[in-house]
Chain length 318, copies 2
């Protein structure tokens, strides 16, 4: 059976920090990233691609705000905005993938699935919203929105009178369509799924699927997707070529190989920054704990050069 890899595109894989977010910039970055997946296809891998949506869904939320202000168009809730972003980004990746495959004379079907991801309404994250989304408001605006829409706000640092909506970031529990993703991927189709961490939903007491106003970490959702489809390898493509220990300290050190026990130890010692590398490390560890062979964290444009990247496995190779 062919090996199956799940690739999580994030950070600068789609949009670099210094870019404004035009479609031309996004398409070029995406193409450069996808070029780095070709070697996997040439080695016979089946592929599932997932991706972040931070800048894109941020813009969609801002446009919803602006559309209401100028044209009185009803704002869509967060779940619809995430779903919109899955459509737009997924299509862009799919079309760029068509063209990259054409260049390399590789024939594969490519599909993009809109994906719901189940969360648990009793997840403690719902009591403590931390994920900042949308635009910055002043105190009066944020107060009115809190009253009108029930949104929660936190003060921004570094911004005078800056308040931003915060939403919960619960753990992903299940990927609703993972069986379809697995069937298609194992038949050779490249599947793009679970963008932006998936659209968060929960089952209510009657078994109905309801939207959760939340954002799921895309690497944790990607890891769950990888385990659910029985992937062999899980790749997180980001803006660094390696994971570091003692990052930004005199004894800073690149690590190329990590076993699960050492990774867990370094994480417990606070070697990886929360809000940055730590969630990626957790996503990689969860994949290995559930039976995956190898997790890799590397730079989006360097995946094809295997000398880069930190590889996490159950045991070190002999």
């Amino acid at each position: 059976m062919c090996k199956l890899a799940v690739i999580a595109l994030g950070g600068n894989a789609l949009l670099r920090g210094n870019q404004s977010g035009t479609i031309d910039e996004q398409e070029q970055n995406t193409t450069d990233t996808l070029e780095n997946l070709i070697f996997l296809l040439e080695e016979g891998y089946n592929l599932v691609v997932t991706h972040g949506n931070g800048p894109q869904v941020g813009n969609i939320l801002m446009r919803n705000d602006a559309g209401e202000q100028i044209y009185d168009i009803p704002q869509m809730p967060l779940d619809i905005c995430v779903a919109d972003s899955q459509g737009g980004i997924g299509y862009m990746i799919e079309r760029m993938m068509h063209n990259v495959l054409k260049k390399h004379n590789i024939k594969r079907e490519i599909v993009t699935l809109v994906t719901m991801v189940e969360v648990d309404k009793s997840d403690p994250a719902f009591e403590n919203p931390t994920k900042r989304v949308g635009r910055i408001y002043n105190k009066e605006q944020s107060g009115k929105l809190a009253k009108d829409k029930g949104w929660e706000f936190r003060e921004e640092v570094k911004v005078k009178e800056g308040w931003r909506r915060v939403v919960p970031s619960p753990q992903p529990v299940s990927i609703l369509n993972y069986k379809v993703v697995e069937t298609m991927a194992r038949s050779g189709t490249i599947v793009i799924a679970s963008g932006g961490g998936g659209i968060p939903v929960y089952y209510d007491e009657n078994g109905n699927v309801r939207p959760a106003e939340a954002v799921i970490d895309k690497d944790l959702a990607g890891s769950l997707l990888a385990s659910s489809v029985g992937a062999d390898e899980f790749y997180i493509l980001t803006d660094v070529s390696y994971v570091y220990i003692n990052f930004n300290k005199p004894d800073q050190q690149v690590v190329e190989f990590l076993n699960l026990a050492d990774t867990r130890k370094y994480l417990a010692e606070g070697m990886f920054a929360e809000g940055s590398m730590a969630p990626k490390i957790r996503a990689c560890m969860q994949f290995i704990e559930k039976g995956g062979e190898m997790s890799v964290i590397t730079e989006a444009f360097k995946l094809a050069d295997k000398k880069f990247g930190t590889k996490i496995t159950m045991e070190y190779e002999d």
Copy 2:
């Protein structure tokens, strides 16, 4: 083999003319519409669902305009806006379908595919853009946008100084992922695909897939999808229970059954209004011409009551 039906949801299936477009309205209409598909599932049909996106993509375009005005966020091109709408609407239909199936104790996988549809760049529609999209501008604004973005504009009637962007509405040539749609649908999965007529793309001289700034008629795309997957039946759900001949004339007459020859004759005689019933009739005829058994035009909330609806077949039944 189970029968396969393609259902095109349009008009008031998702949003009624007198509604403002809140998510609650859209969800309730969608649920009411999907209830009318249950009898097909109970008869053992496999289903592909496609849908319009007029009000939703109109709002997305307006929000893009507003977001640029207030926050200087780069506007996304039309193809991305259509893709966004496929994500949001597809997710909404998929989630409502989950809950309707739950109520009826029916177990099926449901997936939403982001779908590109090929058009021909030499289609004469590209020389004569007719489809109005986005907001109404005044003459000065439209002149600036025509210069800055290369958009074409037409004057609105009934509006003082009203100008609207027009884009081409070319014929759909092929559905890029129809094979995947067919495979999944025939395995019993309910597939939601080709929303808003699909994201229009074309193959350039190098075989690369490029976006076409255009809008494809959703019923024509739905008909092509139905033929491509070898569907037996094609349903267009709209806001009338029947097709009429001599509509709004003293001898107005409901038609419940039509054969292909009579349908073609009535169409040639101008019995069906352009911009309204005529494209739906053409979509139904094309499906029959390519070997489909039956096309049906009926009211979204009345499909389950088979006494409603105009049925178009190759020959009248004896």
